[in-house]
């Protein structure tokens, strides 16, 4: 299929369904031949775990043990093959052989799984435990073990649920339990789960809203002070005009800022407290550093800011100096605190 203009998914779908069709033709053809030993064939499509006999179990166990043994013995090589194929080739590993081995192992796993869950649902036994494990760990060795455990758990629970109810198919129940484990992991997994992500997003939104208000107040005060040498309170509309937020989030963030003692409220509006000015200064400085960084990203490529959570104020003095120089050039230095200090010393 590499040689046509068809996309991979078309090729897979085509091969899959056409070969399945051929399989069905052969199946129906064999069914009317006058030979024995054919009645179990359509059970492979859905699997019939309950109909397995001890020789089946023995074969499955032996194949499973061989597969696990291969994975353990060749773990390093397979790991390299998966993550950096070119490098593996470079240090002289037989990547084609290893890849073939991997494919053969997948086929072997599918074949022994057929009797339990059947052709169609085998797909999910290959995928679900693995991505479930992926949510809990970043290490391949842990992932392999975890995935095995998840697979075993879903097998056991599926069987236990289906056993007491007559007519319940075991294979689909195993698949449903595997998927359930995946969905649960998707939601509650630490670090990657949806809940923790949502919480982080909410926290980030809250923080951003607060910082926006602080910076807006700071900038308003800065401008006003530069013109009139006095501080003043600003109505909410002025703050909103600078960096619009939804009304609800605006109120909530302001309340939070009041509670932290950064902002005070009067009848006319809001103003920064002394500690609020300090905080707002830092926020404004950081955001303006960010602006400089974005404008001159090439010059600061060594900083890897995305890894440091965009916290410019924790950078070494020297780097901050470079950013400061740029700010000066663009006349964007936050100056309110300085002006206030000068005002105080001159009076």
């Amino acid at each position: 299929m590499r040689h046509t203009r068809l996309k991979t998914d078309t090729a897979i779908g085509l091969i899959l369904s056409v070969f399945f069709g051929i399989g069905i033709v052969l199946l129906t053809y064999i069914n009317q031949l006058p030979v024995g030993d054919q009645s179990g064939l359509d059970e492979f499509i859905f699997g019939q775990a309950a109909a397995m006999v001890s020789s089946d179990v023995r074969i499955i166990s032996i194949v499973a043990i061989i597969l696990v043994a291969i994975v353990v013995l060749l773990f390093k090589e397979l790991k390299l093959l998966i993550f950096d194929r070119e490098f593996a080739q470079g240090i002289g590993l037989p990547t084609t052989v290893l890849n073939g081995l991997l494919m053969t192992m997948i086929v072997a796993a599918v074949v022994i799984g057929l009797q339990a869950v059947g052709v169609v649902l085998m797909v999910s036994m290959l995928i679900a435990p693995a991505i479930t494990a992926r949510y809990w760990t970043d290490r391949l060795d842990h992932m392999v073990i975890l995935s095995g455990i998840v697979g075993a758990l879903s097998g056991i629970s599926g069987t236990l649920i289906s056993a007491p109810i007559s007519g319940m198919p075991t294979g689909p129940l195993i698949v449903v339990s595997a998927c359930m484990l995946f969905f649960v992991s998707l939601v509650i997994a630490p670090k990657k789960g949806l809940l923790i992500k949502a919480y982080r997003l909410k926290h980030l939104r809250k923080q951003t809203a607060r910082e926006q208000i602080l910076q807006s107040l700071y900038e308003l005060a800065e401008e006003h002070y530069a013109a009139t040498r006095s501080l003043k309170t600003f109505p909410g509309e002025d703050i909103q005009a600078l960096r619009p937020l939804s009304a609800r989030r605006f109120q909530k963030a302001l309340k939070g800022l009041q509670q932290s003692g950064y902002v005070n409220v009067t009848n006319e509006g809001f103003y920064l407290t002394a500690s609020g000015r300090e905080k707002a200064h830092r926020v404004t400085l950081n955001n303006r550093y960010m602006q400089m960084y974005a404008m001159h990203e090439v010059r600061f490529a060594n900083l890897h800011m995305e890894k440091q959570n965009w916290d410019f104020l924790s950078l070494p003095e020297e780097e901050q100096g470079r950013l400061q120089a740029l700010l000066h050039e663009h006349k964007l230095e936050p100056t309110l605190l300085q002006m206030l200090q000068e005002g105080r010393t001159s009076t």
Partner: protein, 296 residues
């Protein structure tokens, strides 16, 4: 030709045309695996519709299948945006929904005519016996359903032809021009679902994928024109259906399976002999380049 054969051939040809037309869009939009997923999950739609309404009426099943089909794509999209790779999310969603469908079938609907094997292979041989009389014409229910779906598909396709064309080949431009790209996507998914459910009786869940993908892929190797692809794909669908029926009758094997096989054979022929993209043509042009290089 007896009446019985005629109805089977008509049903099979309708499946070929309908699936062929939809398949073109699926292939060009790289949705072949999604169609595989949908064709499985319509089982859940059919059985849920049956459990809710307690009837085997074609229309409720239609609606159920269309809803579940679109839901399938929505779920896949959701998992995708939650950070799961697209192939893994397709695999999880469709096996999950399919497994639930199978469980529901074996729990509640054992005695109804939806049985599991039927869903896999279809029962095209029984179709001529389930006739209904609409507008004074006595025809099998499957033929009615397929014709209606075909009409719906063709009308939607003609109506949104330009939109589909643009959003298939240049989705960014289409989005920039303000076309509802997402809506078109779900519209196509809905069309795929009703096509799958209408073809379900005839060819079953898995082989409908062959009828969806193979004729389109064959046409893709033979033409560069969007409109031509639909015509060729539908034609190949019909050829696969009719030749499949006669082959099956000759070997006394599964008709649906043979239709899929013939679709594959047609693809193989195009793969080898296509004048522009076939293996022979490519080998010849390569040889031509080599001799050309040697000459200069």
């Amino acid at each position: 030709m007896t009446d019985y054969t005629f109805w089977i051939l008509l049903t099979a040809s309708l499946v070929g045309i309908t699936c062929g037309i939809i398949g073109v869009l699926l292939i060009l939009r790289k949705l072949a695996m999604v169609s595989d997923a949908i064709s499985h999950t319509v089982l859940l739609g059919i059985i849920s519709a049956f459990l809710i309404t307690q009837s085997l009426d074609g229309w409720t099943m239609f609606i159920g299948a269309a809803i579940v089909g679109v839901l399938t794509t929505v779920f896949i999209q959701m998992l995708n945006s939650a950070g799961v790779q697209s192939d893994a999310s397709i695999g999880i969603v469709f096996t999950f929904l399919f497994a639930i469908g199978v469980i529901l079938v074996s729990m509640f609907a054992r005695n109804v005519h939806i049985d599991v094997e039927h869903t896999i292979m279809g029962e095209i041989a029984f179709i001529p016996w389930e006739t209904v009389n609409w507008f004074g014409i006595e025809a099998p229910q499957a033929v009615w359903m397929l014709s209606i779906v075909l009409v719906i598909d063709v009308i939607l396709l003609l109506f949104f032809y330009k939109e589909f064309k643009l959003s298939t080949f240049d989705p960014e431009l289409a989005a920039a021009l303000g076309l509802p790209v997402g809506l078109l996507h779900y519209l196509l998914m809905g069309m795929t679902s009703i096509t799958a459910v209408a073809s379900f009786d005839a060819v079953g869940a898995i082989l409908v994928v062959a009828m969806l993908i193979a004729p389109g892929a064959t046409a893709y190797l033979l033409t560069e024109r969007f409109s031509m692809m639909f015509v060729l794909s539908a034609t190949f669908g019909v050829i696969a259906a009719i030749s499949g029926y006669y082959m099956a009758a000759w070997l006394n094997a599964s008709i649906a399976g043979m239709m899929a096989t013939m679709a594959g054979v047609l693809f193989l022929l195009a793969f080898i002999f296509s004048p522009t993209h076939g293996m022979i043509a490519k080998a010849l042009s390569q040889k031509h380049i080599r001799t050309f290089d040697a000459d200069t």
